[in-house]
Symmetry: C2
Subunit: 222 residues, 2 copies
DNA sequence: CCAAAAGTGTTGGCTGTACACCCATGT
DNA sequence: ACATGGGTGTACAGCCAACACTTTTGG
C-alpha cells in the first residue's frame, strides 16, 4: 500500500496528516520565553516555528507531544496539556493538535543538531513564525495567565525548592505586571499548596530567603 | 491511489482518520439534555453515541462541526466551540475533535431519517455510550458550568426574548443547584449584558414577566 | 556602615451571600 | 378570594487592594 503524496497542495483522501505541535514555555530572569525551531528545510525554510511532528504508528496524541517535548528539551514529567486543534495552518488540509508545556529552564538540555536547531525566544520579541504559530503561542499564553489564578501550574516552571520572591517574579513575568509583595505572599500561603522546607538560600549579598516546595508536583486546581 | 482499508484494527499509514463529534446541549423544563444518535450500523451498532462524522475534502474543523450541527438540528449561528481532541476513542488510531454547541430546543428540528436517528437525552439518564462518549459529555458540561460564570453563553439556549426567571431556571439546570432569586437578578443585571425589551409575557395564570434580550447574541466574556 | 532584598499587618472598599415579604394576574 | 409566580432591599462577612518600615546578610 503506497502512501499518498504529501506534497500536493490538496490531499485527495479524507484521511489527514495529523501533527502535534508543542508550545514549550519557560521563565528566566523575569522574562517569558518560548522554544522555537529554525526550519532548515521544507515549507517556510529558514523561518522559525514551534516544534512539532506527525504522529507515528499507534501513538496517541499525548504520547506524541510527550515524545516531542523530550526530544527537544530532555525533560519529562512536567506540566503538559492539550491546548487546541487547528486545521488550515498549512494549506495541505493537515490537522495540528497543539499542546503546551511549562519547564524549568535549568533542567532543560536543548537538542543539538545540525538542522532544525531549537532556541529560546523572548515572547516579547517573537520573530515572524511559520504556519500562523504566533496565534498558537498567544493562545497558550492566555491559557497560562488564566490558569495562574486557579491552579498550581507554576510548580513546573521552578526548581523543586524556591523562595517566594522567585515565585512572585515568575508570576510577574507571566502577567506582565508587578504584584504587591505582601498581598502575594498572603494569597499564596493561604492556599496551602506550599510547604516550607526549613532551609534558606542567599543569592548574592542579601538576606537569605526561606525556601518552599509545592506539596504536589502535578496540576491541582483550587 | 487506493484508500487504505478502514476496517483493520490498526491503520498502516501515519495519516489518520479525522472526525469531528459534537456535543449538542439544550435545556428544557429545567433539565439538561444532550443530542444522541442511535447507531444503526458499524461498530457499536444499536448503542448510542454523539453525532459526528469525518471531515470531507478541503473542509476545516469548524466547518465540519457546523455542518454536522446543522444536519442534526437545522440550526446555525449558535454557540459552537471546540472542546478538545481525542485519540484512542476507537482502536483504529483515528483522531476525534470534539465541539460543543448550545441550542434553544424550540428552534431545533431534529433530522428525520430511517437510520441513525437523533434524539434528546437527559444528562441525568445517559445510556451507555459508544467510544467513551460519556467522558466527552462530562467534559463539555464542566466547560459549560465554568463558562456560565464569566460569559454570556446562555444566549444560545434561550429564545431571543425571555424573562429573568427563565434565565435563572436555565442556570439552575446547568449548575444542578438552586440560586437565590434576588442575588441572581442583581448579579445578571449588573453585568449589563441584558437589555429590557419593554414587553412582558404571562405564561399561565400569573403575573406577566418583563422580557429581556441579550445585547450581544454571540459569545462575550466579562 | 552601606546596599540589597527579605520579611511582616492593618485598614477600607467592594463583592457576594443570606434572607422574607408584597404585588399583579388569571381562574 | 386565592393560588401562582414576579418582583424587590438590607445587613453582614469575607476577600482583595493599597500601603511603609524593619531585618538580615555580604561586601
Amino acid at each position: 500500500m503506497t502512501q499518498p503524496s504529501r506534497t500536493t497542495a490538496q490531499r485527495n483522501t479524507a484521511d489527514r496528516l495529523v501533527a502535534v505541535i508543542v508550545v514549550i514555555i519557560t521563565v528566566e530572569a523575569g522574562q517569558l520565553q518560548v522554544l522555537l525551531i529554525k526550519r532548515s528545510a521544507g515549507p517556510f525554510k529558514d523561518s522559525w516555528s514551534l516544534p512539532g511532528g506527525r504522529l507515528v504508528e499507534g501513538e496517541s496524541l499525548l504520547e506524541a507531544a510527550t515524545r516531542r517535548l523530550e526530544i527537544e528539551t530532555g525533560v519529562k514529567d512536567v506540566f503538559l496539556e492539550q491546548l487546541c486543534t487547528f486545521s488550515g495552518l498549512d494549506d495541505q488540509g493537515s490537522v495540528a493538535v497543539a499542546y503546551w508545556a511549562l519547564v524549568d529552564k535549568a533542567s532543560v538540555r536543548l537538542a543539538r543538531r545540525d538542522v532544525w536547531q531549537p532556541a529560546w525566544c523572548l515572547t516579547s520579541e517573537l520573530p515572524d513564525l511559520a504556519f500562523k504559530n504566533d496565534s498558537v503561542i498567544e493562545n497558550a499564553l492566555t491559557r497560562l495567565r488564566n490558569k495562574l489564578a486557579y491552579s498550581n501550574v507554576t510548580y513546573s516552571l521552578l526548581p523543586s525548592e524556591f523562595s517566594l520572591s522567585q515565585l512572585q517574579q515568575t508570576y510577574e513575568a507571566i502577567l506582565l505586571s508587578p504584584l504587591d509583595k505582601r498581598n502575594f505572599r498572603k494569597r499564596i500561603l493561604s492556599l496551602g499548596v506550599l510547604e516550607a522546607t526549613g532551609r534558606s538560600a542567599s543569592e548574592g549579598r542579601h538576606r537569605p530567603a526561606k525556601l518552599y516546595r509545592f506539596r504536589e508536583r502535578r496540576p491541582v486546581v483550587y
